[in-house]
Symmetry: D3
Subunit: 275 residues, 6 copies
């Protein structure tokens, strides 16, 4: 169960309205790596996991925090949109080109659809979608996905930080960036702990028998391009991060197979083109 408290985790009040930045801020609300994504992602991982205990508690604990981040950003956006111009655009443009320019970059659905409110969309107006989230049931894979999500999210928030000089907006971003920082550390630590406790290992999934792999190609770096430096990295020689092999390097593939013959002429009731 979730309980709501009419307080925020941090200040979320802008110095003034800015419809243009309101649009940009939608990215970290309803974008691929926005707060809705991480809230839902940690939620589904928690609800689906077969492993009760500290890992699940961690998922529940951070997941609920992220729903609060969704709220903070939505409320910030709604305030940035207060006083958004709904007036005759042509007049505004003629009288005030600066104003007009900002209008050009707004999310017009903020006014038309939401009446100066936040929306469940990204900064280009694409609706948030369930396919953004990852919850495979394999926690090492999923914690890696979580670490990535917090990295991408922090990169985006850092970029946004430089696209405004509104003190209030920057204050909130400074808070969110710090929490993304923390969450990166947490997911990386949790992934490491999963391996140390023997729940999972590299390569993921670790309990698929390596003997069922085509083993010849499991440690060979193959270069399908002609960039000569692809063989110079630590991914082409030396021990592998999974601790189970040595990297080797090959220009191009080490195996090849003939294109299979087209074996029959097709069912005529499918009306395809056949010999």
């Amino acid at each position: 169960m979730f309980f709501h408290k009419q307080e925020l985790q941090y200040n979320a009040t802008p110095a003034g309205p800015d419809v243009f930045f309101a649009r940009k801020m939608q990215e970290i609300l309803g974008g691929q790596y926005g707060e809705i994504t991480v809230a839902m992602q940690y939620g589904f991982q928690a609800w689906n996991t077969k492993l009760p205990g500290k890992y699940r508690d961690l998922l529940y604990g951070i997941g609920a925090e992220e729903f609060g981040h969704v709220e903070m950003i939505a409320i910030m956006i709604a305030q940035l949109l207060e006083k958004a111009p709904a007036s005759d655009v042509e007049a505004a443009v003629k009288g005030d080109p600066t104003m007009a320019a900002i209008i050009g970059g707004e999310d017009v659905q903020h006014a038309i659809v939401a009446g100066a409110g936040a929306r469940a969309v990204d900064s280009n107006g694409n609706p948030w979608q369930g396919s953004y989230i990852t919850a495979s049931g394999n926690l090492l894979a999923d914690f890696t996905a979580n670490a990535n999500a917090e990295m991408q999210g922090r990169v985006q928030a850092a970029r946004l930080y430089h696209m405004t000089d509104d003190k209030g907006v920057r204050d909130l971003l400074s808070f969110l960036i710090a929490r993304d920082h923390m969450h990166q550390n947490q997911w990386i630590a949790a992934a490491r702990e999963l391996r140390e406790e023997g729940y999972e290992d590299l390569p993921v999934p670790s309990n698929f028998p390596l003997s069922d792999e085509v083993g010849d190609v499991a440690y060979t770096s193959m270069n399908f391009s002609d960039g000569k430096q692809a063989g110079e990295g630590s991914w082409a020689k030396g021990p592998t991060p999974d601790g189970k092999g040595e990297f080797s390097y090959s220009e191009g593939p080490t195996t090849t197979a003939a294109m299979p013959p087209v074996g029959n002429h097709g069912d005529p009731r499918l009306y395809g083109t056949t010999p």
Copy 2:
């Protein structure tokens, strides 16, 4: 530029047709973590990067391999669909319930739309979409995304391995699983090398000044749920993976802010509800 060769990297011939498994196999072709995703993801990362040299060569080299994986799976699916029944379903069902059951699980668009061909969709028929890919320009974030993609992809291929006993299909899966294994190792090695060479570090992005964070909350594990074990992991005490702090733990938030007042009454031309 890309050049095509009418050979495959590995055998991709099934022992027999199986329309039901053809549908399932679409997941690793056109799903969130299918081969189209990784091929496009590594391509866009390569085209966009500001860092020439070995990292870009690596992206180009693996990216081109993945386009070949797209081809192998598409050709495998097309063969699994040869001899797919296009006949009167009702008759088939009446005469052969086993047959009918399999029909129930097929992707009906394989026959109706593609004439027994593979499609750019996942195992539920959702079209592949550009929002599956990640290419932020920050290579540490992106290589983490790549490692995750290879983990999720290998988990899915391993699951599929147990959903068929067709020797030919399993042979191809064994190959793809081995390459996913390799690519996990490579992206993890490349991410480590980026840090060792000083291009990037934790937290990502590492050149955002930590002094611009709300520092008090950057190392505190806050538990917004009531699971007691959330504080027992290595993510709640001890040094942090970024090497820059010590984890602490708090039940619930350490900061709080009042919900901002609704500051004005709204523009009447927006026709919202106001006091």
Copy 3:
């Protein structure tokens, strides 16, 4: 069957071109609550209903009108785009910042994709989609959906009215707003009549036995937030609109259940993380 007549229901000629407003107007053409939505929604409700007679006639009658509204708005948008600039943008921007600002807010696909034509998209360029419509077969639910659609649509058209001072555009909006007004009244009247004639009642669906509900919670207003005024409305005390009970009020839930145990360890062939 549908028959087309090369006339419009009302004037749809703008005073002049306005590529910026053309984009905004896409919202009521191809948006969530645009004319394509209501035309399709009433059509599918009519085609699917099991109840012949006056209600179905009403659906057919308004549905066909709405297809004509689609046409009026599309033709209006196409005219607003005539003379849309396809010229060198940089030159335009340098010479005429006002012009440039408006360009900033256009739907660039109007020019690139449609050659100065309307498109089946909303004001952010999201394609219209079949998931916008509602047709459940339960007419009281569906007429409520219809009333809502006409309310949302009229709110949006009223907002657009203030974003232009083009006499021709405003004239068409005045017409569409009047028809939305009428259609609100009609769907509310039709919903009321359904109840009066005994076809359906509150709660929808009314023929699900109330004895199969967990009855204790069917009339209790539970507040999962800490807003004290949630208990002060007519939704927390007094008779309920369905005429079958009395509202009561509770801070928080009145029932609770333990989180179910994670019952088994998972199938190893799914490669999830298990104890």
Copy 4:
């Protein structure tokens, strides 16, 4: 802020596994009118509203409850999927057609993608999307949308009730159906109260001047189809629900306008076809 408690509002334990019903149940989790929709919808309405007080408290209070419903259904689905078959399908089909049939109707991504977990999708595997929600800032319109959502949701849950005889599943559905019942009553009561308190009225939005409508058509029922009974309902004669007029009836439109001439020949740089 949201706080999570590791308890459920009601029992959510099935009597046994049922992968087929798990798929169906996705509809009320991640479908157009599933619990994610109402949770997010009430959330965005609360975050965006310009009207503090009891209405906003109501939105917050029910919104938080709905996030708990999301959790209950996700956990129920995860349990229905435990023991889901990941084995060789062909063998299963040959040995056990009944089993095979059920496989035919499962969501194959439950196994391949989520490892026997719930997903943020509907019963056909379409990802949930932000365009399902409605939050216009006009509370009478939005509460009507909410009433509709609870009606559609209750209709779907009632249908699902008859598609299973699992005691545990039915018990949860009985609870959810009761809460949908309650929420229908609440939104209808709240909509009525808004009107009684003068915040809003019919037609929505009520503060758009009726004098700016093309008044002739605001009370006329026009029938664009040839169904004779369209004029027999209370929507074609008598007083209108808004209390401001009398319905009249017309076969076909009462106004007509010539199709506007195609006014210019198009910009040649758009490469369209012109006279």
Copy 5:
């Protein structure tokens, strides 16, 4: 304007219910090349064209017919779903595997969402979307798109014809296939007439100056694969269909350019990885 008549263009009554075929039939209703697509496509082409007269009249005339096809198929699907089982699935499966198998292949949203009604989706349940349609304003391009749409549509309908032996369904398909036949002929004739009357020509668009092309490559067939027979077709030698050149053939590209240098180090405020 559109007017509706409560008659159909042809018989649309099945011999009996068939929920499985109802799902398949959704493809030609709401799929990429279903009737909604062609109805909307011809509509938008008509509304947007700058060329009044016979071509626009043709678009309006066929467009309105296609809306009637949408209706016929929707009504057919609704009838195929009457008597659709809403009963306990598990019991059905146990008692009647044949029944169960068919259930496996149904569109479960037909029952849960639409109450045994048609939906605006394809045979995999993907909602119809505005991005399926083509309306560029260039009529030779668009009529080619129309010819393709009628070809793809007729192929799909022909495939469906063999997936049922219901006399009523086949009768309707025979009608639709004949109309697709006619419309193929019409769009091909109209495209030819456009060229003969000088409105447009190959290559499309014909008024882009050929002198602004990189002329060296406008008539060279380049083979980026190693299939030797690519040079044996009429596309590699002899006069070109546009009547303006002669095909030549080259193994691989005839031009090459160095990969551009990565020119600067990136704006540090974007937090990308730079040298």
Copy 6:
């Protein structure tokens, strides 16, 4: 298999940055008719075809070229975005309205999400999707789809040509326009050759027995609108392009059928509205 070479087929270096044009150029990268579409479309047609030999070789050969076009445009866009402003927008707007205007028209995700990189989206930010491609297995239908794709693509590139005066961008467009020119010719030639060699003919599919059509309506032009000139084209009289009949013309439909009765009252467990 695909092999990558770190060269381009043609120059792809702009004279200078232009974030506004970068957005527009996304249309021919990730739009409905962008390079990703044709690359994937020809790929899937090749992988799925049942007809080995010159036609398949052609598909492979052009398909691989198109992946190189994807790369050229992505690299061009990335260069157009170098030096894209990430600075304080408000300051920029105040100091430099021209700058601000251009900002208004940029794709804000270019900066926020991709760090000045290209994305797999169209010019409105809609992600590319698998439903853009066509691969039916019927090569005459598919080559017609290909011809259309190259026409639409060339129209869009020609429009873009006039929206910039950057010499480098225009140079690349001149190359791409020439290749689209070539590919139009090739697909038209290939379609003609398929017919000449007897693989397929009009109407598509040609092996569906014409005797199974409702023959009366296969050659009749029916006008469902009131445009008088619809009967004046070569599509209404004279021989048909398929060489198998004569066009005739009819005002309105030549057949009619009664709307089917609503045959039963619906299953009560579906909770629809019934008599």
